[in-house]
């Protein structure tokens, strides 16, 4: 992690996005869905394959692939080999790795002070 410059601050990813984890075999996919366009732009720049691989490093992913979906203001991360064998082989209570979306949600993201001031835990209502 770079030293934080005064014009930026680190915030957990859940202030910029929400997401869900799914599994197929020993592979987990975790969506990261931005709350808005400003958050999406920051996440595309910051939540790189390398950074996510490092954040999940203790699970030793074989490969991390990021798919960017601008129309959905979302990214889909596919993390291969992180489920200790997956639903059949893992001894984890959560063999599917369903809770791993919330590990992703804690990943620190560097955000400008201006944007940071607008980001708090708040209720996001339906947009109608």
């Amino acid at each position: 992690m770079n030293a934080t410059s005064p014009s930026t601050t680190q915030l957990p990813l859940y202030l910029l996005a929400h997401g869900r984890a799914g599994d197929k075999g020993n592979t987990s996919n975790i969506s990261v869905i931005a709350w808005d366009q400003a958050c999406f732009d920051v996440l595309v720049a910051q939540a790189t394959e390398e950074k996510v691989a490092e954040w999940f490093g203790y699970r030793h992913p074989n490969k991390v692939t990021r798919y960017v979906l601008p129309k959905l203001k979302a990214m889909n991360f596919v993390l291969e080999g992180i489920l200790d064998g997956g639903v059949n082989d893992a001894l984890n209570l959560d063999t599917h790795g369903k809770g791993l979306s919330f590990w992703m949600m804690d990943m620190p993201i560097e955000v400008s002070q201006d944007l940071a001031q607008t980001l708090t835990i708040k209720e996001y209502a339906q947009s109608v």
Partner: protein
């Protein structure tokens, strides 16, 4: 519908509701879905009840009793809505046949008789089950596996929407399947309704993604979504199951059953459209390679979203097969510690078990309340430090092919009552046979599938 000519009715949207997202889901979701479908002039009702391993468990039940092996809660799911579905021509399409679609069909006949309803026309889809000795031999060779075929519990191909569509076109009231790809439960009805060609890849992609949005039940309508204070969902105790309105051009909308709790918005929709997707340009099913890279989700109204921009490419050449086999025993045992130095006591208890039996089998140790599901089996995360906690539950888990060795985990954790650290309580233990899955793809010609209408067999 009957007053319209077939070409007119094909231009009407098709409504497909889904009342379960897995075996074990709530069983009371169908009523509001069916009532909503009736108010919309009819439609199709899906129940999705087959996770990867559900079918293996069903095979075990069928071996014990040839009349079992279908969804155990079938009567709870179908019973309350069968009359309304038959009265209003709402066709039921479900994989609740599991390992025994024929027996499931007979159970539905019996339900209709018990309720004095007309005899439904029931079609079963067959061909997914590949447990004949010749087929198993072929599969194990393909998998390069040397496991004893006697250990195989189930072997099933994921088949597509074609048989479902044909059975519906022939007037089935109920289509019972075993293993089909989940989205095919929705795509099949769309093919039957609109007359889409099965190589119209765009339409196949659209119908498939409509099915994808529905197949996990409430996961698109407010289930599996809520974070209090951030993503609130009203009425989670009575969440409405989803319904798709599929149009002739392939665009579709998703909403939920009327007079229910839950939430459908562009956020619940985006979480579900990406659920269990890998490459968004290549979502593979037996029917199509669906592509959501250009998909958009927009809020059309309260609790209603519109999905556009789905693309489709030719279907994969081969079909996916899962082979499930017996592979030893999973042992799990837990004991709790609370208060002063609870975390240290729980950790000491775990170390104690490791010292005694860690040489016999690999053990996983969790400190529930400090680090558990985030942790990896090797304990790397835990080794980096534990948060303070005053209420910790030790869990020790392991697998062994030899039941007697797996059982040692249970005995060692139980004996912590006397021989372990101070104040341990609440031991629970469980020992279960473990099933493993192998997957491969095989040529479509190796999976001759079809459908047939079933006669009621009175006992």
């Amino acid at each position: 519908m009957s007053t319209l000519s077939s070409s007119d009715s094909a231009q009407r949207p098709l409504y497909v509701g889904c009342a379960t997202g897995f075996s074990g889901d709530r069983t009371d979701g169908a009523g509001p879905v069916v009532d909503t479908l009736i108010s919309l002039g009819g439609g199709v009702l899906n129940f999705e009840t087959l996770a990867e391993r559900t079918l293996a468990l069903a095979q075990i039940e069928k071996r014990k009793d040839p009349k079992m092996g279908y969804e155990p809660l079938l009567a709870d799911l179908v019973g309350p809505v069968l009359k309304r579905c038959l009265d209003h021509k709402i066709q039921i399409v479900s994989n609740f046949g599991a390992a025994n679609p024929q027996a499931a069909a007979q159970r539905i006949f019996a339900l209709a008789r018990e309720q004095n309803l007309r005899t439904p026309r029931i079609a079963v889809v067959y061909g997914d089950d590949l447990t004949e000795p010749e087929q198993l031999k072929f599969l194990l060779k393909k998998l390069g596996s040397n496991i004893d075929p006697a250990r195989v519990v189930s072997a099933n191909a994921y088949i597509g929407a074609s048989e479902i569509a044909q059975a519906l076109k022939e007037g089935a009231d109920v289509v019972v399947t075993g293993r089909v790809s989940d989205p095919s439960l929705t795509l099949g009805p769309a093919i039957a309704h609109f007359g889409w060609a099965m190589d119209d890849w765009h339409k196949m992609g659209c119908g498939t993604m409509a099915g994808h949005m529905l197949e996990c039940g409430t996961q698109v309508s407010g289930g599996y979504y809520s974070v209090p204070g951030q993503k609130s969902v009203p009425g989670m105790d009575r969440i409405g199951f989803p319904i798709a309105e599929i149009r002739a051009d392939g665009t579709f909308s998703v909403f939920k059953a009327r007079d229910t709790g839950g939430l459908v918005d562009d956020r619940t929709g985006r979480e579900q459209i990406l659920y269990e997707v890998h490459d968004p340009a290549r979502y593979l099913t037996p029917d199509v390679t669906a592509d959501i890279t250009e998909a958009s989700i927009t809020q059309e109204g309260p609790d209603r979203i519109r999905i556009e921009g789905i693309q489709g490419h030719p279907k994969p050449a081969e079909l996916k097969v899962n082979v499930c086999y017996d592979n030893g025993y999973l042992a799990e045992a837990e004991i709790s510690y609370a208060g002063f130095r609870a975390r240290e006591r729980a950790a000491l208890a775990g170390e104690t078990v490791r010292k005694r039996i860690g040489h016999l089998l690999p053990l996983r140790v969790d400190l529930i309340g400090a680090i558990s599901i985030f942790g990896d089996d090797a304990g790397e995360l835990m080794s980096k430090g534990l948060p303070e906690s005053r209420d910790v539950r030790l869990r020790v888990a392991g697998v062994h092919i030899d039941k007697a060795i797996a059982e040692k985990i249970l005995r060692e954790v139980t004996s912590l009552y006397c021989c372990g650290p101070a104040g341990g309580g609440g031991v629970r233990t469980s020992l279960r046979p473990r099933l493993d899955t192998l997957s491969c793809t095989i040529p479509r010609e190796s999976v001759p599938c079809g459908y047939s209408f079933v006669e009621e067999q009175r006992a």
